[in-house]
Every structure is written in structure tokens, then in C-alpha cells.
Amino acid sequence: MPDLLSLYRTMVRIRAFEDAAEISSQGGVAAWGKQASDKPALVRGPLHLSTGQEAVAAGVCAHLKPADLLTSTHRGHGHTLAKGADATKMMCELFGRATGYNGGKGGSMHIADFSVGMLGANGVVAAGLPIAVGAAQGLKIRGQDAIAVCFFGDGAINRGPFMEALNWAVVYHLPVLFVCEDNRISATTESAAMTAGPGASARASSMGIAAVQVDGTDAQAVSEAAAELIREIRAGSGPRLLHALTDRHKGHVSVDPGLYRDPAAVAAALARDGIARARARLVEQGLGAQADQVDQAAKAEIDAAVATATAAPPPDKAAAYTDIQNTGAGVWA
């Protein structure tokens, strides 16, 4: 079982990354009631921050190996970092640089590191679920000893691919863990008003998928629940679902101040922040100095990532015409 300090390290790195990305996204165009500024935004376009949800990524990914495959959502920075991606290459991608993971072609919404099995964030809600079951099926067909994990939001469970993917995973008895990051809001809409029944875990149970609900702001609780589910999956149980109740601290995208939200609910979310609670627990255990070190190291790492990304070159115009498809060669190239 990963110790609290290592879960804390993952969470703090994600938070530092999200904070830096948020600052880098300020400026440029007018949006969500904010004025345009002269300062160009270094991170452009929609930036969906996972601030507040770090415990889910940290707790689940602590139990994954590089060979395990992962699909994500539009809010995928945390998952990518927790799966083992390099923060600098990620920041370069957010900055649209040639040195980013996708050569600047994807940006935040398509952050990915295939070398550690992170098969991509996705701009289409629920699209990662079918891809994850296919990845699990591919692993099974090839006889590989690995599993697939799929993160998705509570809003995604109202799209057809959610139902299709869960059914599919049962039918083919696939090694896949579905992880619902239930922050109870979808873009600007409270999910409860849009969702019949109690949500992801209940729907999974109705299809015979064992599902566990957990406090998704408590990294240790997530880690313990994920450990057991992943152990069962590796032992051949078929699909499992983890329903993590968590909090989105910020607006839907970085330029969204989230003014539509109930201030009391936001205050309550901030008060149960998983990072602050983990830190308090570490201090209680006499590990305050180590926590300080983790904080400083994360800040240094992410500051360096921003500096590298700022100085990095943009892609060549010619890259716009590469990595599209074979047109006629007829062979894998």
C-alpha cells in the first residue's frame, strides 16, 4: 500500500501543475464575463482544471503499472501526471510547443503519454469509456498481464457510451476499472437534476458490476478501495467500478469564475480539501518537514516546467501536414 507521503507528493505535484497552468492561461481573449487583456495567454483555449480532485488520480494510479492502460476525460492533467508522465513535456504541450507530448497538436484537452500507458484525455464526454474497454479487450486478446482504467465524470454517465461500455465489459469479462469522478456538477449544471437514480455505482450494480463508493477527497480511502478492486481485476474478476465523491474547486474552465455555484457549497468543498487534510495528517504523524520538502520540490519542478515551456519552440508549420494518415503507401509507416 502506498504511504500517505507518496500519495501527498502526487497530489501536490498535480495541484502545482494546475495552478501554474491556470496562471499561464490568464489573458488574451474575453470569455465567461472576463475582459480580454493585452497579455497573451500562454495556455490557450479551454483549460479544464482538476483542482480539488487530485486524491482520485493519486489513489487510483498508485496501483497501476506502466503496462496498464488509461483513458481520461477533458480534465486529464492529474491522471496523466499520476500515471507517470513528465510534467515538463506536459506543460510544453499545454503551451503548444514542438517539445510537448503531442508536438503541440493536442494541448490540454488531449494531453497524453502513450509511453506510460496514458492513452489520452478526450474532448468528447464519455468517449474514453468505449476506448478503455477496447484497450482491456486488446490486452486480453494478446494475453498481456495488464488492466485498463477509465476515468470519467458524473455527467458522462448520461451518455449512451457509458451504458454500452459497462455492458460490453461484462459481456467480455474484461480487466477494466471504471472510475467515476463524481464532483456533482457537469459544466455549469448540477448533475442531480439531470440524472435519474443515485448515479454511477447504482447503474453499475444493475449490470452486475461490483461497485464501491468512496470519499474521493481522501487519498488513502481512494487508494485502499482502488487497491482491492484492482487486485480483484488482476485476479480475473472482470470489470469493477469505483465511485469517488469529489469536489471541483474551480469553474468548469480556467476562465470561468463559477459564479453560478452556491457559495456555501464551494466553501464546504474548500474546507474538505484533500491536500490540506493529508498535510494535517502528515504533520500529526511527525512528517511535517518531509511534507515541506515535497511542497518545495513540486514548486521547483513546475516552475522549471513553465520556464522550459515558455522558452520552447513552437512546432514547424510543416507539422500541420504530418501524422494524419497514410495516403496510399499501403503499408504501415
Binding site: L69, E93, Y101, A112, V133, E164, W168, Y172
Partner: protein, 307 residues
């Protein structure tokens, strides 16, 4: 599938051999008997996940051949085709490859009406990241399928339903390259370009033109993307007249792309022939209205010759 253990097929009804029998061997035995249910995969009616899962399989090292039965149902998986499969390689900076062949039969299927008869090839030709294949003969079907599976990127593979019963010589293992047209009939007076089922209608019309002393050159494009510009431009420059024929609706179709390209590069007179912008009706008279048969091709060619 014999040559490459990573090739699998998935879709509805594959265990029974496919609704058109396209997953049976020459003796009519379903391929699942030979390759087993891990490689000939029967799926739920879940088009989004059939294609989405194929993308995931491909990312995990498999080469899936996806069966969507008719292109009309592929629309239930349009996100997975257009936003997932076609974009993966580019969006992730070349990290991912999606070697997937998506079979989406096109064309009028007698008395099957508006939701089973569409020819939507232009939609897919419009999308960067997709190869679009439209075979017109059994040999091309075999050879182009081999190239499609080998290509390493998403291929939309569109067979015409009315071509399923066609028989003809096939050399096993002989690949046909993507993007190379076939001169189905040589001629000097007018160029007729087509693909898939309509090539036969054009050949029939060309026979009737020949009886009137007009030699038509009929070009079978074989693939719409990439398409063999060189072959078409050379022929149009030679004959001075180009007619594009497709079963798809004429407006905003791929014929417009070919006509415009030829107009941009040659002095040839150009014309298009496709279906009127109507859904395919059930009653024979309605269905016939949407069909582009030899008589319509002949009339369009004669009109072009008079210009």
C-alpha cells in the same frame, strides 16, 4: 487473419457469418469456427462502443476490422469514427496509431428505403485522417482490403450492397494499392469517372455510346481518398470532356471535388451526375428516382458531348 494474429473482426452477427455472409469462408462456414470467438467477435448492438473499442484495441496493439453493417448505422458511432479514430494520430502528436478498417457498406439495397440505402462516402472523404475505399470488383475487394488492413491508419471501407453477389477472378494475397485508379474501359472521346457499383452502370452506358460511334473512357477510382488525380487529369486532358457519376446525392458530393479539380487543371468540359437530393424511397418508383442507372449516364454523356 491467417498471416497476422493481431487482426480481429468485431461487429453484430459475425458469429453467424455476417448478414451478407462476408465473415464466411468459401464453403460458407462462419469464420468464427476457424478463428474462435476472440478473433471473430460478436458484439452487442452498441455502435459507439464497437468503433470506440476498436480504437482502444488498436492502441493496445490489435488490428481490428470493424463491421458496421451499413453506413447508415455508422452514424450512431460518428463521434468514434470522426473525433476518435481519425484524430488520434494527429491529436496526440504521432504517439498513437489506429490501424482499423471500418466496413460501412453503401448504396441502394432493394426496398430497404431511406435508412439503409445511403451513399455517404463524401462525408468521410471530407475528414482528414480517414482513407476511403470503394471497391467495384471482387479482385479489387480482396486486394484493397489487404492494403487497408496493412495501412496502419483508419480506413473507411465501403462496399456496395448490390455488389455482394458478384463473382469474379481473385488472386489470393494480391494487394491492390490505395490511390491508384483502374481504367475499366479505354476510349478517346469522353472520360467517365466513377466508383463502386456505378462503374458497371457507366460501362453499360459506354457500350451504348460505342454503338453510336462514341468511345468513352471509363475510370474506376477504387479509392476516394486518396484519389488518383493524375489518372483523371490525364484522361480528361486527352478526351476534353469529363463526366463524374456517383450513386450518392449529386449536390455537395465527391463528384463536385473531381469536377472542380479537373476544371482547375485542364480545359476539359466537366459535368456531374448523381442522385437528386431526396431520401431513397421504399416504393420501386421512388427508389428508381434515386438510382443512377445506365440510361441516366447515357443521357448525361450525350448532353456533355453536345456542349
Amino acid at each position: 487473419m491467417d498471416a497476422d494474429p493481431t487482426v480481429v473482426a468485431l461487429g453484430e452477427d459475425l458469429g453467424r457469418g455476417g448478414v451478407f455472409g462476408q465473415y464466411r469462408d468459401a464453403e460458407g462456414v462462419p469464420l468464427v469456427k476457424r478463428f474462435g470467438p476472440d478473433r471473430i467477435i460478436d458484439t452487442p448492438i452498441s455502435e459507439s462502443t464497437i468503433v470506440g473499442a476498436a480504437v482502444g484495441m488498436a492502441l493496445a496493439g490489435i488490428k481490428p476490422v470493424v463491421e458496421l453493417r451499413v453506413v447508415d448505422f455508422a452514424l450512431c458511432a460518428i463521434d468514434e469514427v470522426v473525433n476518435q479514430a481519425a484524430k488520434n494520430r494527429y491529436m496526440f502528436g504521432g504517439q498513437g496509431r489506429v490501424p482499423t478498417v471500418m466496413r460501412m457498406p453503401i448504396g441502394i439495397w432493394s426496398a430497404s428505403a431511406a435508412q439503409h440505402s445511403q451513399s455517404l462516402e463524401a462525408w468521410f472523404a471530407h475528414i482528414p485522417g480517414l482513407v476511403v475505399v470503394t471497391p467495384g470488383t471482387p479482385a479489387d475487394n480482396h486486394g484493397l482490403l489487404l492494403s487497408a488492413i496493412a495501412s496502419g491508419d483508419p480506413v473507411v471501407y465501403m462496399e456496395h450492397k448490390e455488389l455482394w453477389p458478384t463473382t469474379g477472378p481473385v488472386t489470393l494475397g494480391e494487394a491492390v494499392p490505395l490511390g491508384k485508379a483502374r481504367v475499366a474501359r479505354a476510349g478517346s472521346d469522353v472520360t467517365i469517372v466513377s466508383w463502386s457499383r456505378q462503374v458497371q452502370a457507366c460501362l453499360d452506358a459506354a457500350e451504348q455510346l460505342a454503338a453510336q460511334g462514341v468511345q468513352a473512357e471509363v475510370i474506376d477510382l477504387r479509392t476516394l481518398w486518396p484519389w488518383d488525380k493524375e489518372a483523371v487529369l490525364n484522361s480528361a486532358a486527352k478526351t476534353g470532356r469529363l463526366l463524374v457519376v456517383h450513386e450518392a446525392i449529386q449536390v455537395a458530393g465527391f463528384g463536385g471535388e473531381i469536377a472542380a479539380t479537373v476544371a482547375e487543371h485542364t480545359h476539359a468540359k466537366v459535368a456531374r451526375l448523381g442522385a437528386p437530393r431526396i431520401p431513397v424511397g421504399y416504393a420501386p418508383v421512388l427508389e428508381e428516382e434515386a438510382r443512377v442507372g445506365p440510361a441516366k449516364v447515357l443521357a448525361a454523356a450525350l448532353k456533355l458531348l453536345q456542349r
